[in-house]
């Protein structure tokens, strides 16, 4: 059963993705570490961290796509789970500093020393151990998502109402973490990390290792997402996305399904956050900002909602554009970025992957269908409007008859 579950994740497209990821994971660190600085193919440190950061963003986008693209839950608060994972990792890294902090206190982080904290708050216990921190990276976002989702999905909070309360959630966490009384370093957050698992965090090798770890995490989560979306569960999710109440009348307990992917997605976001922190060297409440969550949604939309590759691609491309614009056009880059979003939505409604795959799969469609009839249990994948692409097939009916008889459902 398990093997078929994982096997389901594999096909030509996934294979291509995996091949490219494998190449990236091996080549980038190798070119960084092994080739001399003068070499044309040398990847500078700067690029390694930058791309490592992109990979964690891609993982976050993947998490958002799983709930939004496949299950129709538009989360405007996923950055909260990302940041919580980040904080869990940050706390571990803080504890690793030990006496190397500016005050040399063996237990207390610097910010606690100069704000006169007497002792370590209880919730910092255990974070000196990596396994505990790693567990928390999964558990803290997971449990929060589970509790939040358990209430919200059971109460059938849907659509824009759900989106807004996810935003309220991340906003509340933002304000809470800003408070210095919380013991998470307030606005400054956690910084000045020294090492991770005994490796110097500023060493090139550590950086390459973190990059590879991010790549592996992305690949692993990609495979999990792929296995899920191609299972019957995935079909149920899409069914929920397109006609939630119909799914209920078929006997599916929609709230359980939502809760399952929601929690899973939050944990993936937590992993992304945990890998992000050691690479950028800081975690602070700014990560909770609602704007960040909205941006993640935009990455997914740009790449192509409801396609896993699209989420990854969108995250990498938008962030690359941001990096490039902020340096090349520092005074007016917002025009470029804002314009990009408008253009993408107007002219590439299914995102980049949607456009690319339309042509590509049209050719392949027939062949796959034939294979399918011949006995494979895999349904045809990536048809122009296959399960994986957004349900834009009949939106006119749902939104042209707005309030009174049907409330606006802006967030599907």
């Amino acid at each position: 059963m398990m093997s078929s579950f994982l096997f389901r994740a594999m096909d030509a497209r996934a294979g291509l993705f995996l091949a490219i990821m494998a190449a990236v994971i091996i080549l980038v660190p190798a070119c960084n570490l092994l080739l001399p600085e003068g070499s044309t193919f040398h990847v500078p440190n700067y690029a390694v961290t930058l791309m490592g950061k992109y990979l964690t963003y891609a993982l976050l986008a993947l998490a958002v796509d799983l709930v939004w693209g496949y299950c129709g839950i538009l989360s405007l608060g996923h950055a909260a789970f990302f940041a919580l994972g980040g904080y869990a990792m940050g706390m571990y890294l803080m504890r690793q500093i030990g006496t190397r902090g500016v005050y040399g206190d063996p237990i207390l982080p610097d910010f606690m020393v100069f704000l006169n904290w007497g002792e370590l708050p209880w919730y910092w216990y255990g974070f000196d151990m990596f396994w505990f921190a790693a567990l928390m990276v999964l558990l803290v976002p997971g449990v929060l998502a589970f509790v939040f989702g358990w209430f919200a999905f059971r109460s059938r909070v849907t659509g824009v109402y759900l989106s807004i309360i996810t935003q309220a959630l991340t906003y509340a966490l933002l304000l809470a973490f800003f408070r210095n009384d919380m013991g998470f370093g307030g606005n400054n957050g956690l910084t000045d990390f020294k090492d991770i698992l005994g490796f110097d965090i500023q060493a090139d090798t550590t950086r390459a290792g973190l990059f590879a770890a991010s790549g592996l995490a992305l690949v692993l989560c990609f495979l999990i997402c792929r296995a899920i979306t191609r299972s019957k569960l995935g079909k149920v999710l899409v069914a929920v996305r397109d006609a939630e109440s119909r799914t209920r009348f078929l006997g599916y307990r929609v709230e359980h399904y939502k809760l399952f992917v929601w929690t899973l997605s939050a944990m993936m976001a937590g992993i992304a956050g945990a890998l992000y922190v050691p690479q950028v060297g800081i975690i602070n409440p700014g990560e909770f900002a609602p704007a960040n969550s909205i941006e993640v949604v935009i990455w997914v939309a740009v790449g192509g909602r409801g396609t896993l590759v699209g989420a990854v691609l969108g995250a990498v491309l938008v962030n690359f554009a941001k990096t490039w614009f902020t340096a090349a056009l520092p005074d007016i880059w917002l025009f470029a970025l804002g314009g990009l979003f408008v253009v993408v939505t107007l002219f590439l409604p299914k995102g980049i992957v949607g456009i690319v795959s339309q042509g590509w799969t049209a050719l392949r469609q027939r062949k796959i269908s034939e294979d399918y009839e011949a006995g494979s249990d895999e349904p045809p994948s990536q048809a122009p409007q296959s399960p994986a692409s957004p349900a834009n097939v009949s939106p006119k009916t749902s939104s042209s008859t707005l309030p009174a008889d049907a409330e606006p459902q802006p967030a599907e």
Binding site: F114, F178, N180, N187, N188, T191, V280, T326, S357
Partner: protein, 428 residues
């Protein structure tokens, strides 16, 4: 599908080629400017970017540095703290700048510190801050708490006879630390616990009704009351508007602010605020030749006679000149040489004196207390008789009172413990 990955690969390639080509020797000296041009901090930081561009342009008119022209490299970290670190790395590694002038918030500075340390470059940080830091690669040209907060409180105590204190701040590290220091200081002066009220608000707080009325209540206990405000930039405008409307006059309850300068007042009708105070190391109203020149140059550069100057601009002015002088002294822009050369460098400031770089990488400054005027300027009502040396480690905090910083050989330590005689804080 292939195409998309081709793009991905292209992205990586572009990033690496940008990086690869960066180390080509140029006949210019590059200076990085790391100030937010968008996002919440753009409001304060954009001016500093312009000020730096002006200073670099002027230096080039004077013939540049070491016979080379200076070239400014501007990036936008967009008020996004991790992006500060990324951009700092980009400036140093990709653009190959020799010094960076930038950052405003504490968190942005904290974010870039490891980068400057790792890549051994120079950062000039121009804003008043909470202290409790001294880093080999960073030069703090803004005020430390002892160059701003403590003199201001002294002034209120001695000149205005204030006995009751409201410490109101935005909830982040600078107000927290400053208020901790002030609290300790006030208590050491015999102020009772119940005569100190501490209040924190979130960033961008805009509804001040309750807090202003609390202040009013607190002030009606029969003792002269003052507010020490460490409220951050954006939140000040609604705060002062509420204050003005609630009729809290400076004669009754003066407010002394550490984060309100000419730039913040430019967004306000200051008539109801006349007499409220601010403590800085520079005011635009400073009546000196150097300042008049600086203001004229600024107006000419920016093309608007109504633009104001402020303290962090002066800090950049001082910091930039110090760097120039140190580079000339060292004969190279090599960071290690500059770090050695810059300690002791003394350059004119805009308030009629000289500021010197101290071994703890903080500088000497005069402290001015100014009252807000109805034209949006400050009038200096008090100033220290001499220069005050910036103190990296506050004497009023438990954890840091035994620490000193001295980056000269042989000590070369940012947190030397005078009790244990060891470098590295209070630990063993």
């Amino acid at each position: 599908m292939k195409k998309t990955f081709a793009k991905l690969a292209l992205a990586g390639l572009m990033a690496s080629t940008i990086a690869g080509g960066a180390f080509a020797e140029d006949d210019t000296i590059k200076v990085g400017i790391l100030h937010s041009l968008s996002g919440t901090m753009a409001i304060s930081e954009t001016t500093l970017k312009d000020a730096m561009l002006m200073l670099i342009e002027e230096q080039n008119k004077k013939g540049g540095l070491l016979g080379k022209k200076l070239e400014a490299v501007v990036v936008d970290p967009a008020s996004d703290w991790p992006l500060f670190a990324e951009k700092a790395r980009e400036l140093i590694e990709v653009n190959g700048v020799d010094a960076v002038f930038g950052c405003w918030t504490s968190v942005s500075r904290k974010s870039v510190l490891p980068v400057f340390e790792e890549l051994n470059s120079l950062l000039f940080y121009p804003v008043q801050y909470e202290g409790e830091e001294s880093q080999r690669n960073v030069f703090y040209t803004g005020a430390a708490p002892n160059q701003q907060a403590i003199p201001a409180v002294d002034y209120l105590m001695n000149e205005e006879g204030v006995e009751r204190w409201v410490l109101a701040g935005t909830d982040y590290v600078y107000p927290r630390t400053t208020n901790k220091i002030l609290e300790a200081y006030l208590k050491s002066k015999g102020v009772a616990d119940e005569d100190i009220m501490i209040n924190y608000t979130p960033f961008g707080h805009s509804d001040w009704q309750t807090i202003v009325s609390d202040i009013k209540t607190f002030g009606s206990a029969g003792k002269k009351t003052a507010v020490v405000s460490t409220i951050n930039g954006d939140a000040n405008v609604p705060f002062y508007k509420e204050l003005g409307n609630a009729g809290i006059k400076a004669e009754d309850i003066p407010v002394v602010a550490f984060s309100v300068g000419e730039e913040e007042l430019a967004g306000l009708d200051t008539a109801p605020l006349v007499g409220h105070l601010a403590a800085w190391n520079y005011f635009q109203s400073a009546d000196t030749e150097a300042n008049a020149e600086f203001i004229d140059a600024w107006h000419a550069y920016i093309g608007d006679d109504n633009r104001v100057t402020n303290d962090p601009m002066e800090a950049h002015f001082i910091g930039f000149n110090m760097w120039v002088e140190a580079v000339e002294k060292a004969g190279t822009t090599d960071p290690d040489a500059v770090i050695d050369a810059i300690v002791g460098v003394s350059v004119p400031n805009l308030t009629g004196g000289y500021s010197a770089m101290m071994p703890n990488h903080h500088i000497t400054k005069p402290v001015l207390i100014g009252e807000i005027q109805d034209d949006g300027q400050f009038e200096t009502v008090w100033e220290t008789s001499g220069l005050v040396v910036g103190d990296a480690w506050s004497d009023y905090l438990e954890g840091s009172k035994d620490l000193i910083s001295d980056w000269r050989a042989p000590l070369s330590c940012g947190n030397f413990n005078t009790v244990t005689g060891k470098c590295g804080g209070s630990g063993s």
